[in-house]
């Protein structure tokens, strides 16, 4: 085992900033990372054990004790629950004879839960040894467990009903479907890899590229909507000869899965966008930060990168141009939503816990290894390539005044046609409901932009999706009238934020716990009117957290109190403030009665 560890560390040149890769590889080899292993890594890298633990214990998918030869992570997202996750969980538990969170006594199979794995269009889904198993049914589960008990290989367990498109590529063989329902003119339009690189080498200087992007008014697709041309320009002007381009493929916002599909079908478009960014900014290195839930794509993506090297699109002298050098590596995450925040992403790629940095300085001034770093979303890079190919003028003809071009949407929840829709900006929520096959009269609410976004009611279904009206990173979860909004949605989201807070800021670390606790109390029928008022007023404290996670972590609650207050009032009706309805004497003395009755 010591040899295995040393070989892995050697592979990364004993570089402590590659600790994430070292831990991922060690876990793949040994199954888990115990104290002895931590000690070995600590000795080899010459860093204290607590610092290794600091990284190791931060990430959800690292574990310090065995979690089974087969490790099942059942998706606990809102949509997974809509589609019968509880039943699937029950069948797993029955078939395995264990509870969630346990490993079978023979050490063969472990059953766990995890936050949204980016499969909201094909729920309920699970990851088994990092391979996605979408659209689970009780029968499928029974069969999977049977095969696991027979110790079949994961390939055998998957079977051969691979998803469409590149999902069935021999390096991926995934059961995932793309569900592309509507293709638009920008992302899912004709594309010949390498053309944009050829064009810039021939016709455009780095400043020309930036000018074109600025003229296009392209804004980042990761949620914050920062102008991309401006970001690249600042990075270009930033001092330093080494610069980095990061592609953010952490896609952790529950309900979002568009980057999964783009990476599956158009990886070269993404990488070409990074190359162009490298050219514009003067960076020679790119890193694709891939969430652990998408690690099943890694071999396939590595293969695509290799192809691009062979095609002369990556490496030195790109397209024969002297000084145009660029290469890309893939950095996998290990389960932490906050790592989608750009500075946490950088910390993680440096081998640390994913704790967001204080700003300023911004990553464009001081990012990865303290060098100027551009971080953009998967879709942003793709859009940039098409703008370079077709020009800003072409792009500006699409969309609205402040939102140009198209947007790739992840649509899920209570509708007939969940999946990917690429639409020109300027569509209304009603348009989307119609396209996705949801009847307006059956729809209670639409969650726009994931848990950190806004939960709107029918009154607002005519609002327009655009930066100037309802801004979104692209996910819409449709919630029908048969759902208990507070229990099925709000509670799940508040739990999510509590689990995903990095814990650094006081309001985020503590109030996420309290929001979940009080929502739970209200769901249990033990809330009071002052609980509702408190939840509303405490939200102001969240504004002062360091990063977007904490700043928006009360949104599931406050947007539903604002738009669906009557649902809350129904749940607290009849509860008086003078005597706390949450205190129940019988359950408070239960432990005592058990002790004295035992004898």
């Amino acid at each position: 085992m010591g040899n295995t560890i040393n070989a892995i560390i050697k592979k990364y040149n004993g570089d402590e900033t590659r600790l994430m890769d070292i831990l991922l590889d060690v876990q793949t080899e040994l199954g888990f990372i115990n104290d002895w292993t931590v000690e070995q890594i600590s000795k080899s890298l010459d860093i204290p054990q607590v610092e290794i633990l600091q990284t190791l214990s931060f990430y959800h998918f690292f574990h310090r004790e065995p979690r089974g030869k087969y490790t099942i992570y059942l998706n606990d997202s809102v949509v997974s629950n809509f589609y019968g996750k509880e039943e699937i969980k029950k069948v797993f538990e029955e078939e395995l004879g264990i509870k969630t969170g346990q490993v079978t006594p023979d050490g063969l199979i472990g059953l766990f839960e995890t936050a949204c794995i980016g499969m909201s269009d094909q729920e309920p889904a699970a990851l088994i040894n990092e391979h996605p198993f979408p659209s689970l049914t009780p029968d499928k589960v029974k069969n999977i467990v049977k095969l696991m008990k027979e110790k079949k290989s994961i390939e055998d367990i998957k079977g051969n009903k691979y998803g469409e498109g590149n999902n069935s590529h021999y390096l991926m063989r995934s059961l995932v479907n793309n569900n592309i329902r509507e293709k638009g003119a920008v992302i899912f339009s004709d594309y010949t890899p390498g053309e944009a690189v050829k064009k810039i080498v021939k016709e455009l200087s780095s400043t020309d590229v930036i000018e074109e992007l600025k003229k296009s008014y392209l804004r980042g697709r990761g949620g914050a909507g920062f102008p991309t041309g401006l970001k690249w320009e600042i990075a270009r002007k930033a001092k330093g000869d080494i610069k980095y381009i990061f592609c953010n493929a952490d896609e952790g916002e529950p309900g979002t899965f568009k980057d999964r599909v783009i990476l599956t079908e158009l990886p070269k478009l993404v990488f070409e966008g990074m190359i162009i960014a490298g050219y514009a900014v003067g960076a020679k290195y790119g890193i694709l930060y891939l969430r652990n839930e998408y690690r099943y794509m890694k071999n396939y993506l590595e293969h695509v990168l290799q192809e691009m090297r062979e095609e002369g699109l990556l490496g030195s002298f790109i397209n024969g141009k002297k000084g145009f050098d660029f290469d890309i590596r893939i950095q996998c995450g290990a389960g932490a939503y906050v790592c989608g925040e750009e500075s946490a992403l950088i910390e993680s790629a440096e081998g640390k816990r994913g704790e967001p940095r204080d700003r300023p300085p911004f990553p464009v001034e001081s990012g990865y290894l303290n060098k100027p770093t551009v971080v953009n979303n998967v879709e942003t890079f793709c859009t940039a390539v098409k703008i370079i190919l077709n020009g800003a003028e072409w792009y500006n003809k699409m969309g609205t005044k402040e939102s140009k071009g198209t947007k790739v949407l992840s649509i899920s929840g209570d509708c007939e046609r969940p999946g990917i829709y690429e639409l020109e900006w300027g569509f209304s929520v009603n348009d989307i409901l119609k396209k996705a096959g949801a009847k307006t009269q059956d729809v209670l609410a639409v969650q726009v932009g994931g848990p950190s976004g806004n939960c709107i009611s029918e009154k607002e279904f005519n609002r327009i999706l655009a930066y100037e009206d309802l801004s979104t990173g692209g996910s819409l979860i449709i919630i029908s009238k048969k759902r208990d909004l507070i229990k099925d949605v709000v509670l799940n989201f508040q739990h999510f934020f509590k689990e995903e807070s990095c814990g650094s800021c006081v309001p985020c670390r503590t109030l996420t716990v309290i929001y979940e606790k009080i929502i739970k109390k209200i769901v249990d029928g033990k809330g009071t009117k002052s609980d509702i008022d408190n939840l509303l007023s405490w939200a102001a404290f969240m504004k002062n957290n360091r990063c977007g996670l904490g700043q928006t972590a009360a949104n599931p609650t406050i947007s539903t109190i604002k738009n669906f207050r009557q649902l809350y009032e129904e749940k607290v009706k009849g509860n008086i403030e003078l005597f706390n309805p949450d205190f129940d004497e019988n359950s408070a003395i239960k432990d005592y009665m058990e002790v004295v009755n035992k004898k």
């Binding site: 607590v50 814990g503 309001p507």
Partner: protein
């Protein structure tokens, strides 16, 4: 030569060296901005958020901000003061703070801030988390019940070989401070004392020390935290 810049705090015109940490710059102008995770001389990490001020209308932590010309800073708005109270209360309910039996009582920065803000009881429910007290170390006690996770020990303490002794473990509500068994093994008495002193609360104690100063003579018995800055 250093350049001085002019800026305002709550309307008062202030002067300080350009690029100086806002906490220090305010202090030089006799204005106290409450802090907890900040510790003079070690790099800031805006984690407690209590020093949040408005800079040109936008919230920012004063400990991570460098002053520049014409900054318009607000620190004593009602909203900010309510926020600070909330931060203090949240730290009380998040841990297990039994002040009457705490070695640091009277000298504790968290408690002192609560006194300054006249907090009678927190507005949030107590969480009573299950937390441990570690006493395996030959010189130190780590009481997790009182730790406010401010990272001062992580940022400010290195052993004689320059290695870290403290680091975070886990995340979110389970966040904790771990002590390295190896790198902390042979620390000197002075370093152990430094660990205790850098901790704003009673979460790091030197063994067999405590209650050395009688009630009435402790740091914050009569003088509110920050009053030394404001009195000047």
């Amino acid at each position: 030569m250093s350049i001085f810049v002019k800026f305002t705090i709550d309307g008062q015109i202030c002067l300080a060296e350009e690029g100086k940490q806002l906490i220090e710059a305010a202090k030089e102008n006799n204005i106290y901005i409450p802090t907890l995770c900040n510790f003079s001389g070690i790099p800031p990490k805006g984690s407690c958020r209590i020093c949040t001020v408005l800079i040109n209308g936008k919230p920012a932590t004063a400990c991570t901000t460098k002053v520049s010309e014409n900054m318009d800073i607000k620190t004593s708005t009602e909203e900010l003061e309510n926020f600070r109270k909330a931060v203090i209360e949240l730290l009380f309910i998040e841990g297990n703070h039994f002040c009457p039996s705490c070695e640091k009582s009277g000298n504790c920065e968290l408690q002192a801030l609560a006194y300054r803000y006249k907090i009678m009881a927190p507005q949030f429910p107590y969480l009573f988390p299950k937390r441990s007290i570690e006493a395996w170390h030959p010189k130190l006690i780590k009481d997790h019940n009182r730790c406010i996770l401010c990272k001062r020990c992580i940022r400010g303490i290195k052993n004689e070989q320059g290695k870290s002794i403290f680091a975070y473990g886990k995340r979110g509500e389970n966040l904790e401070i771990n002590i390295d068994k190896e790198t902390s093994k042979n620390i000197s008495d002075e370093l152990a004392q430094k660990c205790m002193d850098i901790c704003p609360v009673g979460a790091i104690l030197v063994k067999e020390k405590g209650f050395t100063v009688p009630i009435g003579k402790r740091k914050y018995d009569y003088n509110p935290i920050g009053s030394d800055i404001e009195k000047k």
